[in-house]
Symmetry: C2
Subunit: 789 residues, 2 copies
Amino acid sequence: MQQTDTRPLTDDELQGIDAYWRAANYLSVGQIYLLANPLLREPLRPEHIKPRLLGHWGTTPGLNLIYAHFNRVVRQRDREVLFVTGPGHGGPALVANTWLEGSWTAAYPNTTQDEVGMGRLFKQFSFPGGVPSHVAADVPGSINEGGELGYSLSHAYGAAADNPGLVVACVVGDGEAETGPLAASWHSNKFLDPVRDGAVLPILHLNGYKIANPAVLARIGDEELSALLQGYGYEPYLVEGSEPAEVHQALAATLDRCMDRIEEIQIEARSAPEPPPRPAWPMIVLRTPKGWTGPQVVDGEPVENTWRAHQVPLSGVRTNEDHLRQLESWMRSYRPEELFDDYGRPIAALVELAPGPDLRMGSNPHANGGALSRDLELPAVDEYAVPVKIPGAEDGEPTRVFGEFLRDAFRLNADNLRLFGPDETESNRLTAVYETTGKQWQADLLDTDNHLARDGRVLEILSEHTCQGWLEGYLLTGRHGLFSSYEAFVHIVDSMVNQHAKWLKTINRLEWRRPIPSLNYLLTSHVWRQDHNGFSHQDPGFIDHVVNKKAEVVRVYLPPDTNTLLSTMDHCLRTRNYINVVVAGKQPQPNWLDWEAAALHCARGVGAWEFASNDEGEPDVVMACAGDVPTMETLAAVDLLREHLPDLRIRVVNIVDLMRLQSEGEHPHGLPDAEFDALFTTDKPVIFAYHGYPWLIHRLTYRRHGHDNLHVRGYLEEGTTTTPFDMVVRNNLDRYHLAMDVIDRVPSLGSRAVSTRQYFADQRARHHAYVTTYGEDLPEVRDWRWTPR
Amino acid sequence: MQQTDTRPLTDDELQGIDAYWRAANYLSVGQIYLLANPLLREPLRPEHIKPRLLGHWGTTPGLNLIYAHFNRVVRQRDREVLFVTGPGHGGPALVANTWLEGSWTAAYPNTTQDEVGMGRLFKQFSFPGGVPSHVAADVPGSINEGGELGYSLSHAYGAAADNPGLVVACVVGDGEAETGPLAASWHSNKFLDPVRDGAVLPILHLNGYKIANPAVLARIGDEELSALLQGYGYEPYLVEGSEPAEVHQALAATLDRCMDRIEEIQIEARSAPEPPPRPAWPMIVLRTPKGWTGPQVVDGEPVENTWRAHQVPLSGVRTNEDHLRQLESWMRSYRPEELFDDYGRPIAALVELAPGPDLRMGSNPHANGGALSRDLELPAVDEYAVPVKIPGAEDGEPTRVFGEFLRDAFRLNADNLRLFGPDETESNRLTAVYETTGKQWQADLLDTDNHLARDGRVLEILSEHTCQGWLEGYLLTGRHGLFSSYEAFVHIVDSMVNQHAKWLKTINRLEWRRPIPSLNYLLTSHVWRQDHNGFSHQDPGFIDHVVNKKAEVVRVYLPPDTNTLLSTMDHCLRTRNYINVVVAGKQPQPNWLDWEAAALHCARGVGAWEFASNDEGEPDVVMACAGDVPTMETLAAVDLLREHLPDLRIRVVNIVDLMRLQSEGEHPHGLPDAEFDALFTTDKPVIFAYHGYPWLIHRLTYRRHGHDNLHVRGYLEEGTTTTPFDMVVRNNLDRYHLAMDVIDRVPSLGSRAVSTRQYFADQRARHHAYVTTYGEDLPEVRDWRWTPR
């Protein structure tokens, strides 16, 4: 690792930056401890101290140091910097800094930049209903919460994409650096385009300890660490020390060097006729003590630079007079009287060190992406619709057609839309997008490669975490995107989705945060069609996972065919502040609805399909279906029943918008009870063929009047490598079984249905014999078509 | 990266190993394509070809090569090697090799080592109900399914732990190497103890392409790659080529070198008086063409060494005569007539190249861990029980007491039990374990470190993925373990849990696989006590996630106090083939049950608490609770109701084993309907205070008679940084609200309860004013104790 030995700061500059750092440290300690007496106008007394001491000092002085130095960079270079805080519990630092520079007060005018405001700032921290110990959505300038760790770097790269003027400073904690998502995301530099994207400057902050353990990367020696970072494709610079003046000079010099290098790389790439080879972007390793400038020794135990500095170094201040005095002298060591005036306002010399209102990092408009965001320009979706003269007469490939729509959406949105996925854009049949754009790629190229492009708008890396992190970073800074993934493996990002859902819920309640484009999932390789992958690839539980989040944030769609997929995606791409989960197969399957019917059906979200129903007057049974395969099996069951039991009155109900099933009071999309009752009846059996785990339907409908009549079929965790029809048979979701369910539940059919039921059971047995012998489905199943009546 | 230039193989050895490789390649291609005519006794005709061509050729020849060479290593050195196959879709290779060496037939006697057996082997592959394209549980010798990618290396390290004689050869695919979990798990070498653990030899197989994209690590150049691997702490060796004879010599020489180096490291570590510095363990980078030895060009497009070789290189063999002829000449290029005798048996020269029955990698007993597994020696759990004379009179710290039990369990099981966690053993108050053992750690040490030990049995790294992967590897090889984590962040491993649950379901159906020790979770930092972390740390949905898996595999426990936690953990550590999820707080909380009552209550899983009930005859209301905090709030609500409405007859029911709520037919622990009805009644209101998302209770009980009377309170995704009581208030789970729910649901209380209800509502309002002013809960809430009556 390189170290610089220049000393670029004049004495005045050095003193200024140190004062700024002391001010931020003072404000940080104040947040952790003080309920009153913020300026220490009188000696600290127990009643000035919060009753519950919650917060994390350890990482804070390092963050304050980095922030202060970036203020200098921003001011001197007039460059826009987005500050991403990876370390967990970095809250006190970022709250302190954004208040000091004025961003906090701009977002929360009540928290003025004076003694009263400082008191409020201190009190709210880790206080009931206040701000948490992490850099959450409440903190101006933030796009990354350090609650669950590991996503800062992928967020940073997502933010830099299509923002050529932006530098994203990303502080990576040495704890979070141990996580898988973070470890994978260093490789983002093989994708970032120096021409069209901005720059990311990672600062790996080694303060040595986590809660109770040393950090791995802090204990492998400089040589290995340097090799690792060079192996990740970076040019690492080391800044190390515990003597403030020395560290200030070294960090300033290193930041200058890194910013120069970023500018050189960008100028070279942007002016060269041919793209130069992938650059080694600079990054910084900053090795400073954990809990730096805090108490050295408490109760005889060393604290600074150990794991004991992780949280609250002095824990007994309310009851232990020694601790109280030690806290006071710690706070006074920052010389607050030199930093704040009589009214508690930061002194003019400090104010001057922060960038002006346009460039303050805490006010960076990219971090309030909704405010910058432009709506997508979408092509007229009906022009992509497939003609459907007779329902079910012809097959379509829903995702292939949607791919054409997406291709043209890319044409209309050259810098505002991206598609993310592990490695499946092509296998998910969205191939048409490559007519407009390529896959972004800066690593080595070979002649046999396909669709790779320096400035491609499709991002594929075999890391769902990295895809999700990039996409989140892109959305949080106001742009639009779509994640296409295997249904089973999207569980890999379950916890990231949780955190994003929580972020969305939080920003819904923050007046100054504007709504951001929705997080859109297209899950196309789904549970029912894993013909050669088998059991490990079969899991429809992501839906169950997301519906636990706040109803205001979650939307789930199961379009049954091509035109409904088009309508659904067109809708989702126009929304904000949602998580839209769309599940739709990539395999050829019947087209049921023409465009007009599809658009209407999707607008309603749920509805009876008249072409398939014969329930004039009143139905004997409702056959409900949600999902493409269950819809086909339901229609095939109806076909069988209409043929064998023509008097039976069947109503077919299809559900596109799953949340319509919930009660109105539970979800904004919930169907009013009267409409639900009219559609599903309150007293007739409902045979419900559902895409996922059947009990979810019960959980969504348990308040509905007709709930006890619901009989749900779905995935029962029975799977293997097998044919499409065998999969539904194994889970009792097949047409024969659904038809048998109807016979079992409609007592009025009486004995005349006994032989029909037996015929259906025999067909299932015949299927089993056939598929295990020949390895494919019965011809009459494969070739089945809906019979229009 | 180092390259060897010795040529250790004699001509005979070279020809032998090449023949073995050809045989495995032949058997692999046969599996992908052939339904009949396995020995090509007649020219291939369309009816010999499977109707659905499913499988993956690309990665197969590389795996076959590595396996053949490890056979030589095992034979020559008489060393036990466990082969872990990371690349997805490596199934054909491992199925072929285990058949060739005899392990497959040992597991599946019907699949004989002759023409008939070969035919069956070919047919079953990717055939309905047969074996999938990955190295699933069906494959003898496997502990890792290449379905969802990224866990091979952590599995390998988990398997090596406490197996000092074992070498785990771990093939890492260049696709899976992009995943976060894999990227993090390289650092496992900072934990593995060369004295007491075995060795892991990673082979990073760069065949260059994934499904449709180049692999990142294949396109960063040898210099960066070498730096990366050295940075990860390894000594990388490069084997590269496409000329078989050259690659055979290079790979043989490199494997010899690596095995020598492993032996040197182990001898040095095991004989040194002081542990030597952490070694750089050897590893191999193998760069061979994707789809090597397969078709070079198909329909004019290059295939070998491109992404086109990923799956089935010739896709039209049933209908396209050219493809059929090309397949035949491809298969004949392996000269099967030289490899198999007239009966289809591998020729003697091949048989001799495989290790004998004791050392065949496909028969490695560690890979069928249940067969090797010893039960834990557990101390008498009742000796750790806390005395409880009056229910609720005193507080206990459940995890601290369990830590003492665990401490002594470590004492009794020196090589058979491990504890895993991100960084929280101490903060989760299991600190007593450090009296017996330390945290395993081979990286640099400092004086300020605590509890670190070369041979520690606690493993902490801030990567839930790595913890989970290590634990799975440890369990799959027959040992016992426990994962202690934050409840919210265990979602990080949702998808790994899915895969493990699927593995367990599969091995339940495989006669030759023996049950393995259960996967045990202790989630102690739970949703209700995230006092300083706030919203991002609040998510009880892991329970919802696991209950979607097969009922035979999943168990969920919510012990409400110290003694019930002890009893639950003692039980879980004795079980096999389950996933046991235990949620229990680490904070001081009332002890309710003495040991006798706790043991009985846990054995029943659910029961009425007589000390808290006054329902002689028949209750007016049932107050049910599951989870420690909901139990406390329920008891506090009962206390209020007994005081204010003494005539009200209340039955308190506590649920420890959540699966008791499901119907008998749905889950093996399900309470029979009659018992459920007797406990919960069929007609009285049930106010149910639940730890997690309330709808899960509805989903579990929707078939129960009294379901419509259930009124469930739980986590509503309302959270922030706040006090414990404010958290329950925000989610309507607090004592006052539960008491109000009772009043609202028991009509017989009539008007006499109106003023009481208002009093409870007023108390909630008072709480709000107090907590936002003083930052702590109302004294009467903090100091509340159950009133014995």
